[in-house]
């Protein structure tokens, strides 16, 4: 089958992803761009004997790459092998988008222009003249609305048509004075065997006028460099004097701007201006005085909902797993297999799946903030505040995503251009408690605080993590990184009603991943924990206690002795031995060896803390009143030690997945090392402080 490879390029917020999602019969594949952890979405479509592969590039404002993500997109466009470019633009902001379109057209590749969100322009009484735009640009144009599924399926037909036909003639020409200089550069480029192709040479010449440093590096090593360098120097000076501008890149920008204006004039009938919904909402949501309180209210509401609504199905799930465990006990013969399933795996997996509703609600909230466009507003509101702590407003987006999951949050930090800003943001990101830590908090809050306060306590935990992150950022900025934070320039996308389909899709993927993780990784980890807690067998202890139990008549004493036996056995197990070894580290925090083991196991994944506690406090028959883990915790753990545990969970290293993401994102060994050590030291010190302060206060 013949293959067509398509690069899908466009500025951020133009709806590229929704176009990809709405192509009929497409197979989606999500991966990474090679060597970097930028998400790479590809779709495959089979049509008319072709297999068409569309690669969704990260949103990019211009070819003058600014952020790491933009470099990825630029690198792909310049270096990779593909057949044509599909450029998506937003009909609402056509002229700005067309500036980038012209940069892409400079590449002289086959190209299709997609004018998306056409419905929004038309609804307001405007229109885009497709034929006129095709005529002016010289490339095929498709008007689409991903929301109304309009024009989307034409895209594939057009891709095949464009692929089969020869490339239409270039129609984008700049001012004569510029074209004359381009010709001069092309002439010199032709002397090198690399630039024999006139289209390619023209592209290189234009990029040189754009002062693209990467292109400059390419020609730097060629034999024609000396001649070219001399010529470029003259041309730069000549054009700058001619146009009275500081740099040829400004001249090119002005040219493209003027061309885009002319294109829009010819092809777009603007809607009459009126106050949009976005303007009205912004009046309130980013109000100088009310903006911040409104934001804080939203965050508070989110955590309340997470706790309140999430707790409703929890009991059903818990009951379901207890049933399942009993069923296994009834069906399977007594022995190691029955025990590993009924006492080890099922309760552990159950104790985690219970938190699925909480996690989904939290994720949905963060996703909504992002999709509606409110997240950008919060960056605007908080930039001044963040600047005081040596961060910038845009860092707020990865920080809030950190409440969902630290892994994508590390990746979101790529939108920060300045490496110093980025590393500071990434170093404090771990203090934004991710949703995997939620189960630990919910469990401990449930055990040690009255239910009426639960939502508020949860809010306090998250807020204090965030505040700690800000303080640490400030310290890092003062001690390790001097200098100004990067400039803050950010688009504020219009508010959009979130797509329920996309939201449902995200939640479904999230739920699936979570269940898969619970069923494999966490089940495996809890099996190991169970094994370590059940072996080696202790026949002497058992025999010793059995004798004692036989000897007494009283049922209550029997139960007491039985519990003592189980506890003794557990202490002598492998896990008990490990726990005893590390106990001294955690002893100043009031942790027993069980909590110590749980904390260390939590380095694999935070959910494992809960399942480990469940295994360690639940092994064996406890007495009649304490069925649940919560009750066992209340009996075994002091209030101040529980708070110290919350503090540790809040601060110490995130899970293995997050740590490896950090390693992939940060190449410097010094930072990697620092990242591995400092959160754990800080966590211990903070927990120690809290434990002792609570001690003095009489808890």
């Amino acid at each position: 089958m013949k293959k067509i490879k398509v690069a899908l390029a466009g500025q951020p917020n133009v709806g590229k992803s929704s176009i990809i999602n709405s192509i009929t019969g497409a197979r989606l594949h999500v991966g990474n761009f090679s060597g970097v952890t930028v998400e790479k979405k590809e779709v495959f479509i089979q049509r008319d004997g072709y297999e068409i592969e569309i690669i969704d590039l990260p949103g990019i404002y211009s070819l003058n790459a600014y952020t790491p993500e933009e470099y990825v997109a630029k690198h792909f466009l310049f270096e990779e092998d593909y057949d044509l470019i599909v450029n998506v633009v937003d009909a609402n902001t056509l002229s700005r988008n067309l500036i980038f379109t012209m940069q892409l057209m400079d590449m002289q590749k086959k190209m299709i222009l997609i004018v998306n969100m056409i419905d929004e322009v038309e609804k307001q009484g405007g229109s885009v003249d497709k034929e006129q735009l095709e005529e002016l640009l010289g490339i095929p144009v498709i008007l689409t609305s991903a929301k109304e599924h309009r024009g989307v399926d034409e895209i594939i037909d057009q891709i095949i048509r464009s692929h089969e036909q020869p490339k239409p003639k270039n129609k984008i020409f700049y001012d004569e004075r510029i074209e004359a200089q381009i010709e001069k550069i092309v002439k010199v480029l032709h002397k090198s065997p690399h630039f024999k192709d006139p289209d390619y040479a023209r592209f290189i010449a234009i990029r040189l006028l754009d002062r693209d440093e990467e292109i400059y590096k390419v020609i730097h090593d060629l034999p024609i460099f000396i001649e070219l360098h001399e010529l470029l120097g003259k041309i730069y000076k000549h054009l700058e004097r001619e146009f009275d501008e500081e740099s040829t890149s400004d001249i090119m920008s002005d040219e493209r701007y003027a061309l885009a204006k002319a294109l829009v004039m010819g092809a777009l009938k603007s809607p009459p201006k009126r106050i949009s919904l976005t303007d009205r909402l912004d009046k309130l949501l980013i109000h100088p005085i009310f903006g911040l309180p409104i934001f804080l209210f939203f965050m508070w509401l989110l955590f309340q909902l997470t706790f309140e609504i999430g707790s409703i199905p929890m009991e059903w799930i818990d009951a379901g797993f207890i049933q399942m465990s009993n069923l296994v006990k009834a069906v399977l013969p007594e022995g190691a297999i029955q025990s590993v399933l009924a006492d080890g795996v099922i309760p552990a997996v159950g104790s985690i799946i219970m938190f699925l509703p909480n996690i989904l609600i939290l994720f949905m909230g963060i996703n909504l903030l992002e999709q509606t466009g409110y997240m950008a507003r919060t960056a605007f509101l908080l930039d001044g505040f963040m600047k005081k702590f040596g961060l910038q407003g845009k860092a707020f987006i990865p920080l809030v995503s950190g409440f969902g999951c630290t892994v994508p949050a590390y990746m979101a930090a790529r939108t920060l251009k300045n490496p110093t800003d980025r590393i500071i943001t990434m170093l404090v990101l771990g203090f934004m408690s991710c949703s995997a830590r939620l189960p630990v908090y919910v469990l401990l809050i449930g055990a040690f605080f009255p239910t009426s306060h639960a939502g508020n306590i949860l809010f306090i935990i998250y807020i204090s993590g965030a505040i700690l992150g800000l303080i640490v950022a400030k310290v890092l900025r003062l001690v390790l990184f001097k200098g100004e934070p990067e400039p803050f320039v950010m688009e504020m996308p219009p508010y959009r009603f979130p797509s329920m389909k996309a939201l449902a899709m995200e939640l479904w993927i999230k739920a699936k991943l979570f269940l898969k993780k619970a069923g494999t990784f966490i089940a495996g980890a809890s099996m190991i924990i169970w094994f370590l807690s059940a072996y080696p067998h202790q026949p002497e202890i058992e025999a010793h206690y059995m004798q004692k139990i036989e000897a007494v008549q009283d049922e209550a004493t029997k139960t007491l002795l039985r519990n003592e036996m189980v506890a003794k056995e557990l202490e002598a197990s492998y896990l008990g031995q490990i726990g005893k070894t590390i106990e001294p580290i955690f002893e100043p925090l009031g942790f027993d060896w069980r909590m110590s083991v749980a904390v260390v196991a939590g380095l694999a994944a935070k959910e494992v803390v809960v399942s480990t506690l469940a295994t360690l406090y639940a092994v064996g028959e406890a007495d009649e009143q304490s069925h649940t883990l919560i009750q066992r915790l209340r009996e075994n753990v002091s209030f101040k030690a529980a708070i110290a545990l919350i503090v540790i969970i809040m601060i110490y290293s995130p899970c293995i997945a997050a740590m490896s993401t950090f390693w992939a994102e940060v190449p410097q060994w010094a930072w990697r090392g620092f990242y591995l050590v400092y959160p754990n030291v800080l966590a211990w010190l903070m927990a120690f402080g809290v434990y002792n302060i609570l001690g003095w206060m009489g808890y």
């Binding site: 500025q11 404002y61 211009s62 003058n64 600014y66 609402n92 902001t93 002229s95 700005r96 500036i99 980038f100 740099s247 890149s249 400004d250 920008s253 002005d254 701007y257 003027a258 976005t278 303007d279 912004d282 980013i286 100088p288 005085i289 903006g291 950008a376 960056a379 605007f380 509101l381 930039d383 001044g384 600047k387 910038q392 407003g393 251009k417 400039p487 803050f488 320039v489 950010m490 688009e491 504020m492 996308p493 219009p494």
Partner: protein, 79 residues
């Protein structure tokens, strides 16, 4: 000619000069802020540390330093 930070909310005008250095200048440009384009000051935070402007249907948030580097010829707004 005055810089954005000298304007009050609601002020409109045409950009006559952008003093910012590269790469900020390039970024402003790719967001549609360029010599000759219309600009409207939409909002600023209480301490005037962050500003919001609109140009050709795009809303852009800027920090004080960047906003101060953009100069407009105001029309239809009082000083």
């Amino acid at each position: 000619m005055k810089s954005i930070t000298e304007c009050s909310i609601g002020c409109e005008g045409i950009i006559v000069r952008i003093k910012a250095k590269e790469p900020v200048k390039g970024r402003l440009f790719s967001l549609g802020l360029s010599k000759g384009s219309e600009l409207k000051v939409l909002d600023h935070t209480l301490a005037k540390q962050t500003w919001e402007v609109e140009s050709d249907g795009t809303k852009i948030a800027l920090r004080e330093e960047e906003a101060a580097s953009i100069f407009i010829e105001p029309k239809g707004c009082e000083a």
